[in-house]
């Protein structure tokens, strides 16, 4: 509870800072604030509490995911200092909106009521619509915002419809109430239709195929830092909400959708991987690979009868830190070379060996090669899926991981074997710090996975 309240307050402080001309201090204040909140959040560990008539439920699941989201928020804030340096007058707005995005995400991992879930999702989405269009003079950015807004609000509508149907059937918005109803009576068709609509809306939010068409264009058109926010904070919070809903209350509707969800998982993995193969833009490749990662994470939802929250958390962590590192490096390269295509990375291995090594580790981790975190992420998800009896899906996922190697290695090969265009690269210290921390987490979680694997 504290986490959510303080984070919202911090967002307001950022907005107000402009009035008191505290622009210079705003970034350090926001970062310190989030770190303090991170600590406060951690102090909630092991407590099971409910607030405001079950609106917000704090348990280890929500604390763990909130911690991860706050950490990602810190990374993105630190990166934004330089990213928005040409628009200094608006920095407070950017920071405030980013923090509000985080508020929405936090609500989505700790809701105890459908209303709170919807509220969180909307706060997250609306902030992201704004951020996606924040490069006002860039047509692509405007297009991305418009597309994201249209598709996103449509999905929100479907979600609301689903919630309404569930309410009509069960007479409750409360997660516990819905769970009790489903356990004590035989739900009618309305219940299943409602659950199906919520399922569709969530699949849309996590960009699962066939609801993924918005993702590549939106990812590519948005400012890279916003893309990073969508790929990490938005996706992870949506998956956490997904798990929270379908492991408890709506879980009773799962058997009806098991086949559909398995099909969607398979399709997402295949579409994501095979579409990523032919991209020549690094950012667009990351967008499609993000779809394939959503597919792997869906394996944890498909196997929700086992306790797959831990696997989901570990995968999210591994995927998020590797993504942040990759996006940060992409920003550095794009700022110096002026392009986001694979060619822009040519010769990076010679010019900046450490930066190239960091990107190599991030790519190896995403491709799931030991001893990096992504490998254990895949391992945990796959073994949960095997335990749940989805051996076929796992084999499909394994085959697709091999496809993944092709496009992740494209950039590695470009960095090390192509000749450089001899542009000198400068890296701001803030970027170095974020990249180093992300890579350290990637290695640590890969060598000592027990640190994170038994949290939940």
């Amino acid at each position: 509870m504290k986490t959510l309240v303080y984070t919202s307050t911090l967002g307001l402080v950022c907005m107000l800072a402009e009035m008191f001309s505290l622009r210079k201090f705003i970034l350090p204040i926001a970062v310190t604030g989030l770190l303090v909140i991170f600590g406060l959040n951690a102090s909630n560990w092991g407590e099971n509490q409910a607030f405001f008539h079950n609106m917000v439920v704090i348990d280890n699941f929500s604390v763990a995911f909130s911690g991860l989201l706050l950490l990602l928020g810190v990374f993105i804030l630190v990166l934004s200092g330089n990213f928005y340096k040409n628009e200094e007058s608006k920095i407070s707005d950017y920071l405030a909106i980013t923090i509000f995005t985080l508020c929405g995400a936090l609500a989505m991992v700790s809701f105890g009521n459908m209303a709170m879930f919807f509220l969180g999702l909307e706060v997250l989405s609306i902030s992201l619509y704004v951020l996606a269009g924040s490069k006002r003079k860039d047509v692509r950015s405007n297009e991305a915002a418009m597309k994201y807004f249209l598709m996103g609000s449509f999905a929100s509508g479907v979600l609301l419809f689903g919630i309404a149907l569930i309410y009509g059937e069960t007479g409750s918005f409360d997660i516990q109430g819905i769970t009790n109803y489903a356990a004590n009576s035989t739900p009618s068709l309305l219940y299943y239709i409602g659950a199906g609509m919520i399922l569709i809306a969530l699949l849309f939010k996590v960009s699962a195929a066939p609801f993924h068409f918005w993702a590549p264009d939106v990812y590519e058109g948005s400012p890279t830092l916003t893309t990073a926010t969508m790929a990490t904070i938005a996706k992870i919070s949506a998956f956490a909400a997904f798990y929270r809903l379908f492991s408890s209350s709506l879980g009773s509707a799962m058997p009806a959708y098991a086949w559909v969800l398995s099909g969607v998982t398979a399709l997402t993995i295949i579409v994501g991987n095979f579409s990523a193969l032919n991209q020549d833009s690094f950012k667009r490749m990351l967008a499609f690979s993000g779809i394939s990662h959503a597919g792997y994470m869906l394996l944890a939802i498909v196997s929700v009868y086992g306790k797959t929250d831990n696997a989901l958390f570990f995968y999210s962590l591994a995927y998020a830190v590797a993504s942040i590192a990759a996006f940060a490096i992409a920003i550095v390269v794009a700022a110096n070379v002026g392009s986001e295509k694979f060619d822009a990375f040519n010769g990076l291995g010679k010019r900046k060996p450490l930066l190239a090594m960091a990107l190599t580790i991030a790519m190896l981790s995403m491709a799931g090669i030991p001893p990096f975190a992504g490998f254990f992420g895949k391992y945990y998800i796959f073994s949960e899926a095997v335990r749940a009896g989805h051996l076929g899906l796992v084999i499909l996922a394994v085959v697709n991981s091999i496809v993944g190697v092709y496009y992740y290695f494209k950039v590695i090969i470009a960095m090390y074997t192509k000749d450089s265009s001899e542009v000198s690269l400068t890296i701001k210290p803030a970027y170095s710090v974020v990249i180093v921390v992300c890579i350290l987490i990637t290695i640590l979680a890969g060598v000592f996975p027990s640190m994170f694997a038994n949290l939940l």
Binding site: F375, S383, L391, V394, I402, V405, T417, P449, S450, N454
Partner: protein, 483 residues
């Protein structure tokens, strides 16, 4: 404790090498390789005495899933550890005559690979084995990709990348296999996996999960298509690492992680595997005869030899196992010697095309003498190391099926054809413009050959020590494979 030291010395020296800068990297790397070799020698005593119990070390590493950092050194592992820790410094030393760009990264990667290789041979936990298995792949990928000598970069990128994807694909199926086994047994340790009772049907499926990974690495026909181009495109030091040590990972994997774990699955598929391996023997030999590129010829010859080793392992006989183990050791020495000879020719003449060479013996008698010994060893002349190995292997195959033994036996004749003809075309005859100025061996190159030749005759004349050392562990594996 010494076991841990042996494993981590290469890793530590890999870091030190990278930090020591381009100028000193090669000395530091050699010191690191030598230090690991010394550690290996300190562990030798109990195996020479024929100890039955392996040296072990175990430490809890990951609690969920239960993964132990457990190492085990028995006679078979010791043979491979000794081979690795001897060959790696030797391979580092073979690069001394050549200027290498970005030397610190090159040598650091070689030592990192040694870490992965030693880990594979020492791991007693399936998951640990898998991690080291993958870890060994990454350094060799970069070594081959970045320090290859061929000018056609695109071709090289494609060839090396094919190798990477191919081997990674195989090992991912092994990972699924391990996950499945873990769900059944709750542990990855060899003891738990050997004790599993799986239905024949499950074993039949799981067999392929593991066999694919190993067969691609070895490689067994028809999973070998990555091999010739990779061997050709990689820098020679990389080829030596691949052929001399890395392919033994696959053979070792068969012995340690496939045969005793899935005995009924192995029973089911043995006929097919032996036939494939025998096809590989003949196919590799026939194609080797037609090669004009020296490195490619050696690649196909290596492919033929490991085919015979695979066949020997799958006979599930005592002789087949003994032959396979001895031949793994012998092949490591011989193939490094052959590729070193090719490297010397490449450095001095700038070509590996057999038809353009000739008459080198007239100007470089020392080189000719060393080269002929290694060539004769690789065609299994009696008194050399490969003779012991191939004889036992063919004996094992003969016990399994007479006709297969006859066909596989052709490898000795065909091997003699392509190796001796290659030697004749490259070394004998009249010198030409390319080879007239061929300088004879310098002392560094001489030293490498002398060490290899000592190894060839030591095993060739007195194999008993090596075989006695491995016998207890081979018997243990054989008993578990036949239960």
């Amino acid at each position: 404790m010494l076991l841990i030291a042996l494993l981590f010395i290469p890793l530590a020296f890999s870091l030190i090498t990278y930090l020591s800068g381009d100028r000193y990297a090669k000395y530091v790397a050699l010191a690191g390789g030598a230090a690991a070799f010394v550690a290996c020698n300190l562990l030798k005593a109990p195996f020479i005495a024929g100890a039955l119990a392996p040296l072990t070390y175990a430490h809890n590493w990951i609690s969920n899933p239960v993964i132990q950092f457990s190492l085990s050194l028995d006679g078979l592992s010791f043979m491979l550890v000794a081979l690795t820790s001897f060959l790696v410094p030797l391979i580092i030393f073979t690069t001394y005559g050549k200027a290498i760009d970005n030397a610190k990264a090159f040598y650091a990667l070689i030592l990192l690979m040694e870490f992965g290789l030693l880990g594979v041979f020492l791991a007693d936990d399936g998951f640990l084995f898998y991690i080291f298995w993958e870890l060994a792949l990454i350094p060799i990928f970069f070594i081959a990709l970045l320090w290859g000598e061929n000018q056609d970069k695109d071709f090289r990128n494609r060839a090396i990348f094919k190798f990477f994807v191919y081997t990674l694909a195989g090992s991912l199926f092994m990972l699924v296999g391990f996950i499945y086994l873990y769900q059944q047994s709750g542990s990855f340790s060899t003891a738990a996996l050997y004790a599993l009772n799986l239905s024949p049907k499950e074993q039949g499926f799981l067999f392929w999960a593991f066999f694919l990974a190993f067969a691609i690495k070895i490689p067994v026909f028809p999973f070998h298509t990555w091999q010739p181009d990779t061997y050709k495109e990689a820098p020679t030091a990389g080829t030596m690492l691949l052929a001399g040590i890395m392919l033994k990972m696959g053979l070792y994997g068969l012995l340690r992680w496939l045969l005793p774990v899935l005995p009924e699955g192995v029973m089911l598929w043995t006929p097919l595997v032996i036939v494939l391996a025998t096809i590989g023997v003949i196919y590799g030999s026939v194609i080797a005869i037609k090669q004009d590129d020296l490195k490619k010829l050696l690649a196909y010859s290596s492919f033929a030899h490991v085919g015979l080793i695979t066949a020997g392992i799958f006979t599930l006989t005592r002789e087949g196992f003994q032959g396979a183990a001895v031949q793994m050791f012998a092949h490591g020495f011989n193939v490094v010697g052959l590729f070193f000879a090719a490297e010397i020719i490449l450095r001095r003449t700038g070509t590996l095309s057999i038809s353009q060479l000739g008459g080198i013996r007239n100007v470089a008698p020392k080189f000719a003498a060393c080269f002929v010994i290694v060539v004769l060893a690789s065609v299994a002349l009696p008194t050399t190391n490969a003779f012991i190995g191939e004889f036992l292997l063919l004996f094992g195959v003969y016990e399994y099926n007479t006709w297969l033994a006859v066909i596989a036996g052709l490898t000795i004749i065909l091997g003699a054809v392509y190796m001796l003809r290659m030697y004749q075309n490259v070394m004998l005859g009249e010198t030409n413009a390319l080879t007239a100025g061929f300088a004879d061996l310098n002392w560094q190159e001489m030293l490498v050959f002398i060490l290899i030749i000592i190894g060839i005759f030591q095993v060739g004349l007195y194999p008993k020590q090596l075989m006695d050392m491995m016998q207890p562990s081979l018997d243990f594996i054989l008993n578990n494979s036949l239960k």
